[in-house]
């Protein structure tokens, strides 16, 4: 079994290398600087696989976002610097412009009067109110609904599956969202939530069409037999013309779009799942942009034909190696610190990640409020310091340590990471690491049940704010707190940070909270991921952000044009 795995790994490496070595076709070579679109304005990108649902209220995965972002515009949006900007809303609600009440509980949002759906009808406050109430529909079981439980009555309606229809209707009517008139939306919160404006820029609260959903049910967001999407009406720059399941999506411009019209006349998202195939398709000019197979990044950078086509940028994503702090041996802080100092992050990025990614010793990634480059300096790679911490933990030279296990999902580069860690811990601490490879879902179940000891973990931004990065992961008993970390001081800071309306004070609170976490070392903070893709030279105007969906640059396809 083992042998055959190695054999297949070798084979796949060989295949990938040969794919890289077969020269890429020469580009058009005529890059004439200007910003005028020339040639056919069509682009073909790779979504990387099938989506589950593209119903905004229900969706949760990044490839689903990639599709919906083309078709819908929310009240607010993020600009290329990930700052909030108004979209369908006239302005970002603030206390100063009376969009937010002084107590931070009532949001009154005025809509632009010219926003329309792709069939020409007006987008109204009622459409948004309908969407937000539908998000809490117990029958829908929307996965991101919990992000919006601060809206008055939302959680009660969401949990009302066992109640009678009349009781459910009453709960639905009690939700604190209403359209005062066609262009004024009012939302009431239970508690002040300064990042609520960020939530208004996310897909779960995109407007949806009540008439289509009432008439067609779940089928409103599904293709008919020919792949057409007759009921999937949006208010964004593109219209989803076709979804041939497991094959491709096709978008065309929304002729009734109320904002700046896009230049592209057609976008195709293919659904190639194999990275080698996507690269071959890119070289055969079937794709205008593609990732490269994991582990081939260095070979790509060294390839003179491909290296000018590389697009690289940081994602708002941090990976770490989390400890189960509730059980021995990692309930011992000094031992965690010893491990934190014993991992050479630069070597990891160089050897395992193909040189792509940025090492880190803290949690909140660069490019976001709350990032602090000075945090966690104590954990910079240092074997001497690591051994000192090991002795402080009571295990000088590793004597007396029980068997240390590292669990991981046996996918992607995880097996290489595991082998790397084993070597690092042996060399730098003199400790033997036992590796336990698992199937992905079994691994998730093990981690969620806190039955692991040390495991790989990653977090990507839902929105660029520390309050998406700290309380959910390090708060006592929080849903994504897998380490079991519990610190009353942190919890107290988080409770006040979530409600603090003064932004300067708020960011200070989160900075203090993050410092507490880093000092306690519940994880080995490892690296921030970078996107690494190839893009054809004729694709112009691309804007990438640290929060792109599955496709690099998918937040701003409306600005892309072709120059052939």
């Amino acid at each position: 079994m083992k042998k055959s795995t190695i054999f297949f790994s070798l084979l796949s490496v060989l295949v990938t290398l040969s794919l890289l070595l077969t020269g890429a076709c020469k580009g058009s070579g005529t890059t004439t600087g200007g910003t005028t679109p020339t040639g056919e304005q069509v682009i073909t990108l790779n979504l990387g696989g099938e989506v589950n649902t593209i119903d905004p209220n229900r969706a949760s995965w990044s490839n689903e976002r990639s599709v919906m972002m083309q078709v819908f515009d929310g009240l607010l949006a993020f600009d290329s610097g990930l700052n909030l900007v108004p979209m369908v809303a006239k302005a970002i609600p603030t206390v100063a412009n009376k969009g937010i009440s002084a107590d931070g509980l009532t949001y009154t949002i005025t809509l632009k009067s010219n926003a329309t759906w792709s069939d020409g009808t007006k987008v109204t406050a009622g459409d948004f109110a309908f969407s937000i109430k539908r998000l809490f529909d117990p029958k829908l079981a929307a996965e991101y609904a919990s992000f919006y439980f601060d809206i008055v009555g939302g959680e009660a309606y969401y949990g009302s599956a066992d109640k009678t229809a009349a009781e459910q209707t009453a709960l639905k009517d009690a939700i604190g969202v209403r359209a005062i008139n066609d262009t004024t939306l009012e939302i009431k919160l239970i508690d002040p939530l300064p990042t609520f404006t960020q939530l208004l820029a996310l897909w779960p609260v995109y407007p949806v069409r009540q008439d289509m959903i009432t008439a067609h049910g779940d089928a409103w967001a599904q293709p008919d037999a020919s792949g057409a999407m007759p009921y999937y009406i949006g208010n964004g720059p593109f219209v989803l013309q076709q979804w041939v399941q497991q094959d491709h999506f096709t978008f065309v411009p929304n002729t009734k779009y109320w904002g700046d019209k896009p230049t592209l006349t057609k976008i195709t998202f293919k659904e190639l799942t194999d990275a080698n195939v996507a690269l071959a398709a890119y070289k055969n000019n079937e794709l205008d942009q593609s990732g490269v197979p994991g582990g081939t990044e260095k070979a790509t950078m060294a390839d003179s034909a491909l290296s000018p086509e590389i697009v690289r940028y940081a994602q708002l994503t941090t990976y770490g190696l989390q400890f189960n702090v509730t059980k021995p041996p990692f309930d011992n802080k000094a031992l965690r610190q010893a491990f934190s100092c014993a991992v050479d992050r630069l070597a990891y990025i160089d050897l395992v990640r193909g040189g792509v990614g940025k090492p880190t010793t803290s949690w909140i990634p660069p490019g976001m409020p709350g990032y602090d480059a000075t945090l966690g300096q104590a954990y910079t790679f240092n074997p001497t310091q690591a051994k000192a911490y090991l002795a402080e933990a009571g295990y000088a030279n590793g004597v007396g340590l029980p068997v240390i296990k590292f669990q991981y999902a046996n996918t992607g580069s995880n097996p290489t990471l595991a082998a790397f860690l084993q070597e690092q811990i042996k060399t730098n601490l003199g400790v033997d690491l036992t590796l336990e490879a698992m199937e992905s879902k079994s691994f998730s179940a093990l981690v969620n049940a806190k039955e692991f000891s040390w495991a790989f973990y990653g977090w990507g931004a839902d929105y660029p704010d520390p309050d998406n990065w700290l309380p959910q992961i390090f708060g006592t008993g929080a849903g994504n707190n897998k380490t079991g970390y519990s610190n009353p001081n942190f919890d107290a800071l988080a409770a006040s940070g979530l409600k603090e309306l003064d932004n300067t004070k708020r960011l200070k609170i989160w900075a203090d909270a993050q410092a507490l976490v880093i000092a306690d070392a519940p994880m080995v903070f490892l690296f921030n991921r970078e996107t690494f893709v190839l893009k054809k030279p004729w694709v112009k105007g691309q804007i990438t952000t640290g929060m792109d969906g599955q496709i690099a640059g998918d937040m701003f396809l409306r600005d892309v044009y072709i120059q052939k």
Partner: protein, 305 residues
């Protein structure tokens, strides 16, 4: 013959029920459920999702509901696949997978059988050595390697064929070759071996000593009899091909049914797993029945009355 078929179909129903039961037990025993993810869902959300898909009911009731659904022709709703009914997912992918599978099956037999016969008739000749080389190479090269190699040559270097996708005849060529490679190699080997064995049988010597024309001996006595083992493996081989290959469909981005079962397992999408297993078991059982009926036509010693 008729009674034989009826009896076999009744057995088939029992087999399917047992297969459903075992699969149901196994998939619930495996650690991890459909909502276990790296980024955990809120407990309220998990509760709502379980309710939506009936996973909050006791297991025996879920199994009962499923069997009752199958009897009514409802294979349940997929939860990793936009709530589509598993039947509609299968029906949408099946024509594509079957097109590939049948073409690959025909190609495999069209290459394998003649090559095997020729190799046996001219044992230890150049043809024979070529046949051995052909079978060894294509039986040992994994589909994904062959697929990528074909792509490098015909798409990346020569730009003759599209790498992947579905819709044009050109897009069929590479996946069909990849799918046909192994069965063609197997067919060639088995045809060769069985032809060699039949050639040494007494009845062949008898036929020759009767003074029959060599061609008649070869076609009527040797070829026909040597096909029996070939037909035996052809059944499962065809079943295997028309139920699709995860690797090849994944590689060539074919929107068929071959990926469903594996995707279902990774996603713990219980309806998709059950549907995939049922479909596979049903196809194998039916094709085995067809093979048994075909024996009667080929092997003079077998009669079902």
């Amino acid at each position: 013959m008729f009674r034989f078929i009826v009896r076999r179909i009744l057995w088939l129903l029992l087999v399917l029920l047992v297969v459903m039961f075992i699969t149901f037990i196994l998939m619930h025993l495996v650690p991890g459920g459909p909502w276990d993810r790296e980024k955990a869902l809120a407990p309220k959300v998990v509760e709502a999702l379980n309710k939506r898909y009936g996973l909050d009911q006791p297991l025996w009731q879920q199994f009962g509901n499923y069997v009752w659904g199958v009897i009514r022709g409802d294979l349940g709703t997929s939860y990793s696949w936009a709530d589509r009914n598993v039947i509609s997912i299968l029906l949408q992918g099946l024509p594509k997978t079957m097109t590939l599978g049948i073409l690959a099956f025909l190609l495999a037999q069209a290459i394998g059988i003649p090559l095997g016969v020729a190799a046996a008739l001219k044992q230890n000749s150049g043809v024979d050595y070529f046949s051995v080389l052909f079978s060894t190479v294509f039986a040992s090269i994994p589909g994904f390697v062959l697929g990528i190699l074909l792509m490098i040559v015909f798409s990346v270097m020569l730009h003759w064929l599209p790498t992947s996708g579905w819709g044009s005849p050109q897009q069929l060529i590479m996946p069909v070759i990849c799918l046909a490679a192994l069965p063609a190699a197997q067919s060639a080997r088995i045809t060769r071996a069985s032809t060699l064995e039949v050639m040494r049988q007494d009845y062949v010597r008898t036929a020759r000593s009767k003074g029959l024309l060599e061609n008649r001996v070869r076609i009527r006595h040797i070829f026909r009899n040597s096909l029996i083992p070939v037909v035996t493996i052809a059944g499962p081989e065809l079943a295997n091909l028309i139920t699709g290959s995860f690797i090849i469909e994944n590689l060539f981005a074919v929107p068929g049914v071959g990926r469903l079962f594996v995707q279902g397992i990774f996603a713990r999408d219980y309806s998709l797993i059950m549907g995939g297993v049922l479909f596979y078991a049903f196809t194998i059982a039916i094709l085995n029945l067809v093979v048994d009926i075909a024996y009667a036509a080929i092997d003079p010693r077998i009669r079902y009355d």
